[in-house]
């Protein structure tokens, strides 16, 4: 299905958020996720089903003031 990942279009085979992160190369990454502007805790990723057109944000630790 087609989804948007961090603002860029992606075609993925995975159906769950957990599997999508693995497919996109974030399996071991220290990241937080939001789908359609809603936070999805890591504990719920396996049960979270993605839908075509979903907007996925994957955020990581970064410099800040």
């Amino acid at each position: 299905m087609k989804i948007t990942v961090n603002g860029a279009p992606h075609e993925i085979a995975a159906e769950s958020l957990h599997d999508a992160l693995n497919e996109l190369g974030y399996a071991e990454a220290r990241v937080a996720t939001a789908v359609n502007e809603n936070f999805v805790p890591s504990s719920l990723r396996a049960d979270h089903r993605l839908e075509p057109g979903d907007r996925l944000e994957i955020l990581a630790p970064m410099q800040g003031g």
């Binding site: 961090n6 502007e37 809603n38 936070f39 955020l59 800040g64 003031g65």
Partner: protein
């Protein structure tokens, strides 16, 4: 040393981690200054895995981290970002920024109070980036904040304490609330002045990171904070309008 939500930190210097010439210089700035808290953020993770490298750098600093909601202009954005930060950084501390205008980066006081209340109810320990308004301070305390962070000046300006009267008033109005001057400082003398006024800590980033020698500037800020803190405890003399000779008048020779 300042105590925030029951946790004592090692220094009144809270230092940002952005804009340094290199990760090594960032680490050196923390080492030389002994900064007590590192502020951090969340951004989109690219394919290069920059987040993992930064996370390791922060862990090596061995200081508590304070994630921010920088760049958030709405309550909803700030709350979602706070939840994501809590998971990634493993802390319920959050530097809450709800920005009201993109040019001035002035906090939106109305959104700030609403977000602070919601996040406190969600178990966060909120450090609100606020204007120096005393009524706003009261509302934030009512919302559950146990720390207040009034700005010295707009973020990144380096102007210093642009409204000393209001800051002194705020300090006097809430003498027992830990307060941090957050943003707008450019020089160590600004930090010393904040401590002389009785503030508990300062939070800065650009003044150190954009200095020609960031590590030396970080140390200079640490020294200034120590001087300001010591001066506050030493009970400064009250200012007066008229001159008053310091050399004794008694025994003055009559030579005229």
């Amino acid at each position: 040393m300042p105590v925030f939500y029951g946790r004592e930190v090692a220094s009144p210097l809270m230092l940002g981690t952005a804009q340094y010439p290199s990760p090594a210089i960032l680490a050196e700035a923390f080492r030389r200054s002994g900064a007590g808290i590192a502020t951090v953020s969340l951004r989109r993770e690219g394919a290069g895995g920059a987040g993992a490298a930064f996370w390791q750098l922060i862990r090596d600093l061995d200081v508590p981290v304070l994630p921010n909601t920088a760049g958030c202009h709405s309550v909803r954005e700030a709350i979602t970002t706070a939840h994501m930060a809590r998971e990634v950084f493993g802390t319920d501390w959050i530097k809450l920024e709800v920005i009201g205008h993109p040019d001035t980066l002035q906090p939106d006081p109305f959104g700030l109070v609403e977000a602070a209340r919601i996040l406190t109810e969600d178990g966060f320990k909120v450090f609100p980036y606020m204007t120096e308004d005393g009524i706003l301070a009261g509302r934030l305390l009512d919302a559950g904040c146990e720390v207040l962070m009034p700005w010295g000046a707009p973020i990144g300006t380096g102007i210093g304490l642009m409204n000393p009267y209001a800051l002194r008033t705020l300090r006097a109005q809430f003498p027992d609330v830990p307060m941090v001057i957050d943003a707008g400082l450019g020089l160590p003398s600004h930090a010393a002045a904040a401590m002389e006024m009785g503030f508990d800590a300062v939070l800065l980033n650009t003044a150190v990171a954009k200095a020609g020698d960031p590590a030396a500037m970080a140390e200079a800020f640490a020294l200034a904070l120590r001087a300001g803190q010591m001066a506050r405890k030493a009970d400064p003399m009250p200012p007066r309008e008229m001159a008053s000779p310091s050399t004794p008048q008694i025994g003055l020779a009559v030579l005229a």
